[in-house]
């Protein structure tokens, strides 16, 4: 057990990376394995600075490959362990993430997106959306929370641990360098004070009982001999995933009820959309927001309902339509026309969106 630092509601002015370290402690995380990569470093820094008080564990590994795999080792050993990464680190950590998918290991990772592909920028992007949802040589049996600010970072980092341990799918807090480095007021709390109890961890290896007396030895594998044997396992996973999706999928709507132009955005871009919507509403333009919070799995029913109500939709991202690609697939059969505002690796401002929506009023999008 670790010592929890936040015992009562405490308002602090923190960077997002600091918030994530505090949230992991609040969620009773016991061990972090990590490797330096910007813009997520301060998660590790804060975690390490707090170690004398928390009495948690930390290992700085030789790369993100080992950070991912040693996190899996720590989880199998029964610890609530986690890691964090970004950009090229997220790319090479996919190896471990796909093992987590295949073996249903409750892996938690904070991804602070930076520009891509390759080294690109260390600053900001939403270009790891597809990678985080579908990276690895599998089907994307993952849960991805996309946060839009510091309170989200705190709330969803705590939630990620419970989602991962409850459903046993790798779970991500997907944020970005802006959220990681920016300072905002945030309310830290003990999850227990909000009625949240942490799902207990268990030892998959060296669990209770003696081998040969109380139990058999455990043989965990991610290799299968026959195609059909694999498919049977994966069909079971898909069934679990679909059932889980109904319970886990989250979204946020802002003035979407009567919106004629519906902006679909995730993460911090959704915050710019809120600003733009207020400005547009003041000008008499009925704009609204649909923000998927879980970008995988998506809340499909409310998404389709909101899109059906609107006259036009606008996809906007700091990427070239990575979320849009996932969303459009779920909108099959609807014929609401859409327009796009994509800025690859660059922030989308409220002003950008106001101008874009105004242009959509003048020249509506076509099907």
């Amino acid at each position: 057990m670790v010592n929890k630092l936040i015992k009562e509601d405490t308002k602090m002015f923190l960077t997002g990376n600091e918030v994530l370290a505090y949230a992991a402690n609040a969620a009773e995380a016991e061990f972090m394995y990590g490797y330096p990569i910007t813009p997520q470093n301060e998660i590790m820094h804060t975690w390490c600075k707090l170690l004398p008080k928390t009495e948690a564990g930390f290992l700085q590994t030789e790369d993100e490959i080992s950070a991912g795999f040693s996190t899996l080792g720590g989880i199998l050993a029964g610890k609530r362990a986690f890691t964090a990464t970004a950009g090229p680190g997220n790319v090479i950590m996919q190896d471990a993430q796909s093992m987590a998918e295949m073996m249903r290991i409750p892996f938690v990772c904070a991804v602070m997106q930076r520009g891509g592909p390759s080294t690109a920028t260390v600053i900001y992007a939403q270009q790891e959306t597809r990678l985080t949802c579908f990276g690895g040589n599998g089907e994307g049996f993952r849960i991805v929370y996309s946060t839009a600010g510091h309170q989200d970072l705190y709330d969803y980092m705590i939630k990620a641990f419970n989602t991962a341990w409850k459903y046993r799918f790798p779970t991500y807090v997907l944020a970005d360098g802006y959220q990681g480095k920016m300072r905002e007021p945030v309310m830290l709390y003990d999850p227990a004070s909000r009625g949240i109890s942490m799902v207990p961890t268990e030892k998959a290896l060296l669990g209770p009982g003696q081998i040969g007396i109380d139990r058999k030895s455990v043989h965990m594998r991610n290799t299968y001999n026959m195609e059909e044997e694999l498919m049977e396992v994966l069909e079971g996973y898909q069934k679990d995933y679909d059932k889980m999706a109904e319970e886990v999928a989250e979204y946020e709507e802002y003035k979407a009820e009567d919106a004629e132009i519906l902006i679909i955005a995730h993460g911090i871009v959704a915050r710019s959309a809120r600003t733009a919507i207020d400005e547009l509403r003041a000008k008499g333009i009925k704009a609204g927001l649909f923000r998927p919070i879980t970008i995988r799995p998506l809340a499909v029913k409310p998404l389709r309902a909101a899109v059906s109500r609107a006259k036009q939709i606008l996809f906007t991202e700091s990427a070239n339509g990575q979320l849009a690609q996932m969303v459009l697939e779920k909108l099959y059969g609807l014929n609401t026309p859409y327009s796009t505002l994509y800025k690859m690796g660059v922030g989308v401002t409220g002003d950008d969106l106001v101008s874009k929506v105004e242009s959509m009023i003048k020249e509506p999008a076509m099907i």
Partner: protein, 251 residues
Amino acid sequence: MAEVLTLPPNLPKSQNAEVGASKFCPGCGHGITLKALANAVDELDIKQKTVFGCDIGCSLLSWNYLDLDTVQTHHGRTTPVIYGVTRANPEAIGIAYMGDGGGLAIGSQHLVNAAVRSERMMIVLVNNTNYGMTGGQMSPTTMPGQKTETTPYGRDCEVTGRPAKGAEMVAAIANPEKSFVARSSVSNVRKLQSTFKKGLINVQNGGFSFIEVLSICPLNWRTNNVDTLERLKTMEEFFEVKEFLQGKSEQ
């Protein structure tokens, strides 16, 4: 009618009797190595606290071979999974089992850093001088002149470099106070077992152990019994069989 005499197999307690016939190719060195390892675990009576991790390649076939809590990982990644376990569970004795490709090529960064950090675990690297599972390609330890699928005219060290000497490399970078480093061979099973025992004792004493096992691959070597053992002798001349560092391997 001739009487059929059946004797129960003489298996170590730490070997999984339910596996039945060995899944390794006829003549493979893995069965010998794993049995010696299981016997060493039995001798030290550490079955209940040992975690065995296996790599990809032929070594992955050991995923249910032992009656130990086992996790099979990805190619080259057994070392970080096992030190992930032992960092999180200080009671656990971790064994990472891999081939020469897993340890010295795709997972070499983990070997180097586990040695430098004196991770509390034992790495067993079974060196059969080729990638067996994938059909016999050149590996870091392929001998000079050795024919493999990717060196069909023999390994040319001018082009591919010299064979990697894992035990010497690890001995050069590991902390001598905390590290047991040895090279052993499947040609001497008793010695192999006692080497494993020393390695495990060193881990029990909080240290890092690395044991390279010279092994045989008659299928990919395309050798008969006599030639297989001849080849192993040649390997033992090239890769020195000895203890490089003793650490705290005395009981």
